[in-house]
């Protein structure tokens, strides 16, 4: 199916403004090449994925509701989201407010406006797989990532909870793998696709997180992966940052670059490596990906 939409509202979220800037850049690069316009919402605000949704239930729904209303006001009914956490918050909110009229009334009270509803939050993976389609993706590849062994890491929020994240299989998601195959890479099956990386405890229980990250990295290494592809700023930061700690503690002795899947896509589609901000990652990328960066 190759029915593509030409324009989506775009909600980048705060990570993509800051530490995950490169995710934002790469995503826009890919969509520009696909000829799809991402129109960033004017005056968007936090989605509540941070402390807000633990601390205050009302805030957890009011914040996304505000942004969803912005989508409607911009005249669109679908919003593209890169960050897995933002996607989860916005989608959860649409589903919850549809059924819970009491909550909806409370949300409307704090927003001081009606919650209009009818907006569909879409993760960019969902758009790429379902609206764009693999044939079109393949067609745009100019520098295939030939024989690059990639493991796709989905983490929690792209597949869980299953009633929210519905676009891929809960237990064995494959959308990112398929995209990587389209880019010419070898999508390596591995057991840790949806295991927790511990990002939400990364500051409070760092020793636990180190164990989790170590397991993930070792399995990736055992699968002979050269790089881990991710679609979530939290996963990326956690796997990248904690890898350095593990190296410092001499618990692992290898480097496993952790890249956003759109960075790899942009690369395969011929984007300049300079543009993709690989230097922002802590685990050095050049030595693994050198061949692909300089092709």
């Amino acid at each position: 199916m190759d029915i593509e939409k030409r324009e989506y509202a775009y909600y980048p979220g705060c990570s993509l403004e800051g530490m995950a800037k490169e995710f934002d850049i790469a995503t826009k690069e890919v969509f520009t090449r696909l000829g799809i316009k991402l129109s960033e919402l004017a005056d968007w605000s936090c989605c509540g994925a941070t402390a807000a949704h633990y601390k205050d239930r009302l805030l957890a729904y009011a914040l996304p509701a505000r942004n969803l209303n912005l989508v409607g006001k911009s005249g669109k009914s679908e919003v593209a989201i890169s960050c897995a956490a933002c996607f989860s918050r916005l989608k959860t909110t649409t589903m919850q407010l549809e059924h819970d009229s009491k909550l909806k009334a409370e949300v409307e009270l704090v927003l001081e406006e009606k919650y209009e509803g009818g907006v569909k939050p879409l993760h960019i993976l969902e758009i790429l797989m379902q609206s764009v389609g693999t044939a079109r993706l393949q067609a745009l590849v100019t520098k295939p990532l030939k024989s690059l062994r990639v493991v796709s890491y989905y983490g929690c929020l792209l597949v869980r909870p299953p009633e929210v994240a519905t676009f891929d299989d809960l237990e064995n998601p494959t959308s990112m793998d398929k995209i990587m195959e389209c880019m010419g890479a070898v999508a390596v099956d591995w057991p840790m696709k949806t295991e927790c990386c511990g990002a939400s405890l990364t500051l409070s229980k760092s020793d636990w997180v180190l164990n989790l990250v170590e397991k993930l990295l070792r399995e990736a290494k055992d699968a002979k992966a050269q790089v881990i592809a991710v679609a979530c700023p939290l996963c990326q930061a956690n796997l990248d940052m904690r890898q350095i700690d593990l190296q410092n503690q001499k618990r692992i002795d290898f480097k496993m670059p952790v890249l956003y899947f759109t960075q790899l896509m942009a690369l395969a589609m011929g984007a300049q490596k300079e543009k993709l901000s690989f230097h922002r990652h802590l685990v050095e990328v050049q030595s693994t990906l050198g061949a692909y960066l300089n092709q």
């Binding site: 299989d169 809960l170 237990e171 064995n172 099956d189 057991p191 055992d222």
Partner: protein, 673 residues
């Protein structure tokens, strides 16, 4: 003026604890037309019934209300008693003041008021009850059994040996069902085919059994004793009467890589095939989806090699009609496929298989001739992990029930594995071991103690493939809840004891037959304890795993029980039926035939009303009392109120509605006293 007697039961304390039965009796005594109103500790006891019977005679009652438990419990009892006392039994009605009142309310005043209202409404209704007579209908002493697994086979043989004709309908090309594919059976470890195939042959040879294999039930109409069934004989593309079953067609067919259903996908078959060597009937069928002639338009090799010229490419589905008196549903089960479990890699890893697949691997007639080999590379599995409850008792998978047979066959698998791979390691992950049956627990103990199966209590979270020393292994990650530890087992093969479900199409068949089923689509029995093999629809009986997960002995016992029920039905030439049938007042009927359109039993026909000179004055509806089942759909659709339903007449309902709301001041006062 009516002469109605009201008899109120204490049901020991069951009713009297929350309903003041004395007050109910007092209140009813004041109702016009009620000539006697008494309560008694146990109305259903002999002395209780005697009170009613004597009152019927002495007080010359022409209507009786018994206020007690649900009519499903004792309506029959009291109607029989009334009849014995000389009253038409249909002049008696039950007021349900136990299940619908005393058991569900705590406040005595409220419950008493409600009991009075219920009884009063019933009194008002009974005023208009008519004297009815049961309807007798003839019985066709001929049964249909749907499903040719062990349950269907047993039921068919028992009924046929009882001297009645049986039509056996099987969906697949051969009877035998799942049992034909099993390796050995618990708890005796005797070979499944050895005990089953003689029964299959007996079916084929039995003069009283007519077998329709590769056929499905198309529609069922009629009612108990008088069903009319249409059966679709699917086009086999082979003329079974001239085919000798020599097998040359199958041998020469060039289409050979089709996954065999019988081998659970682990073996191959041809496009023209007999599912397995002992199949009954032992005649091939062409799988038109894969046949070169049907897909590409050329080949016809089978036609060329067939000596008796039995190939019929042009054959079409054929609908045959059968008159049947009773139906046994024995449609069996299936199990969840491995692909249902992505967390265990089902469908991705060839060495993650289901229990039924393991049966084929372990079976002497299976694709490996009984040698245990991994489907992926043919290696002997040194370590096998068996997962019980794959999907069962798991609400996340939508299945709340226990699949019942798995504990036993997992123990059997572990044992068979040990017997075939000496020194191999068998792990069993389980939630509980449920081995309640004759010699069952002993069997499981044997697996654990003699054959050293390692039982780990806990569930498995994930199975994934990992290459270790050049060999693809399966890493099984789970929990040992007794040790409170996470465990990781590197295995060569994982066997999922995947949940038992009713066969595909079970619900659709139930809807055709008009019998209820539960949310999982298992067929519902009329009573879970007392009528376990009867459905709620008269003349429809249940056998085997179509009703709930069952093992072989249970399925066979069920089948014999259902067969005996069928024979009880067939022991009479005709049967009595409730007289609740629709009737049409042809004066009021103006012939719009909306009733005809909504009648599910085709019980409405058109009758011409003629004058003396034979001219047709009008055409009106008429009810065939033999076909009518008394649903009353025709009445609700009739604008002119020309139809009515005996036993549930408009007048009775109308009066009952009024009865609820005419609780008089007198009655209110009785309650307050």
């Amino acid at each position: 003026m009516a002469r109605i007697g009201v008899f109120i039961c204490w049901c020991g304390e069951n009713i009297s604890r929350t309903v003041d039965v004395v007050k109910v009796a007092e209140a009813m005594a004041g109702v016009p037309g009620v000539v006697t109103s008494v309560e008694y500790k146990y109305m259903c006891s002999d002395p209780g019934q005697k009170i009613m019977k004597e009152s019927i005679k002495n007080d010359a009652l022409d209507g009786v209300v018994v206020a007690l438990c649900s009519p499903l419990m004792h309506e029959k009892t009291f109607r029989t008693a009334a009849e014995e006392a000389g009253l038409n039994p249909f002049l008696l009605e039950v007021a349900n003041i136990r299940e619908h009142c005393s058991w569900v309310h705590e406040n005595k005043e409220e419950a008493t008021k409600k009991a009075i209202a219920i009884t009063r409404s019933t009194v008002e209704r009974v005023r208009y009850n008519l004297q009815l007579k049961n309807i007798t209908v003839p019985i066709t002493a001929r049964a249909m059994v749907v499903g040719g697994g062990i349950a269907g086979i047993q039921a068919a043989l028992d009924i046929a040996n009882g001297g009645h004709e049986v039509v056996l309908v099987e969906r697949t090309p051969s009877i035998g069902g799942h049992m034909a594919g099993l390796s050995e059976t618990f708890p005796t470890l005797d070979c499944s085919q050895c005990i089953l195939t003689p029964r299959m042959v007996e079916v084929a040879r039995h003069p009283k059994i007519k077998l329709y294999s590769y056929a499905e039930v198309e529609s069922v109409s009629g009612f108990v004793g008088n069903f009319e069934v249409k059966i679709r004989k699917k086009a086999r593309s082979v003329d079974t009467s001239s085919c000798t079953g020599c097998g040359i067609c199958q041998e020469k067919c060039p289409q050979k890589n089709i996954a065999s259903e019988f081998e659970e996908g682990l073996g191959k078959r041809k496009a023209i095939y007999v599912p397995f060597p002992q199949a009954v009937p032992n005649k091939p069928v062409i799988d038109r989806k894969h046949c070169l002639y049907f897909t590409k338009g050329k080949c016809k090799i089978c036609e060329k090699v067939c000596g008796p010229k039995a190939i019929r490419y042009e054959q079409e589905d054929e609908i045959v009609e059968e008159r049947i008196g009773a139906i046994v549903l024995a449609t069996g089960y299936e199990t969840l496929p491995a692909t249902f479990f992505p967390e265990y890699g089902g469908g991705r890893y060839p060495d993650v298989i289901t229990g039924l697949q393991f049966e084929r691997l372990a079976s002497a007639s299976g694709p490996t001739s009984g040698e245990l080999k991994r489907p992926s590379d043919g290696r002997r599995p040194e370590t096998v992990v068996f997962l019980s409850c794959a999907g069962s008792r798991d609400l996340a998978k939508g299945i709340s029930y226990c699949s019942k047979i798995c504990c036993m066959y997992v123990a059997k698998h572990a044992m068979l594995y040990q017997h075939k791979v000496h020194g191999g390691k068998a792990y069993v992950f389980y939630m509980d071991v449920r081995a309640s049956g004759k010699n069952y627990d002993e069997f499981v103990r044997r697996a654990i103690e003699q054959d050293k199966a390692i039982y780990v209590r806990g569930r498995v979270a994930r199975v994934y493939e990992k290459e270790i020393e050049g060999v693809k292994k399966l890493v099984v990650k789970g929990a040992d809840t007794l040790l409170g530890e996470q465990v990781e087992i590197v295995a060569d093969m994982v066997v999922l004891a995947s949940a038992v479900k009713p066969s595909v199409g079970a619900a659709a068949l139930a809807q055709k037959v008009g019998t209820p089923y539960d949310q999982h689509h298992f067929y519902s029995e009329a009573h879970p304890k007392l009528r376990p093999v009867e459905s709620n629809t008269a003349g429809i009986f249940l056998a085997g795993a179509a009703q709930a997960p069952k093992d072989i002995p249970e399925s066979v016992a069920d089948a014999s029980a259902a067969a005996s029920k069928v024979q009880i039905l067939f022991s009479r030439k005709e049967m009595e039926r409730d007289p609740y049938v629709s009737m049409v007042n042809s004066d009021r009927c103006f012939g719009c035939f909306s009733c005809e359109a909504v009648c599910p039993y085709r019980a409405i026909s058109r009758k011409e009303i003629k004058n003396r000179s034979g001219e047709v004055l009008k055409v009106v509806a008429e009810v065939n009392a033999g076909l009518c089942q008394g649903c009353g759909g025709c009445i609700a659709i009739c604008r002119a109120k020309a139809c009515d339903l005996a036993g549930y007449t408009d007048q009775q309902i109308f009066s009952a509605i009024r009865g609820f709301n005419t609780t008089s001041t007198y009655e209110e006062e009785v309650v307050k006293k």
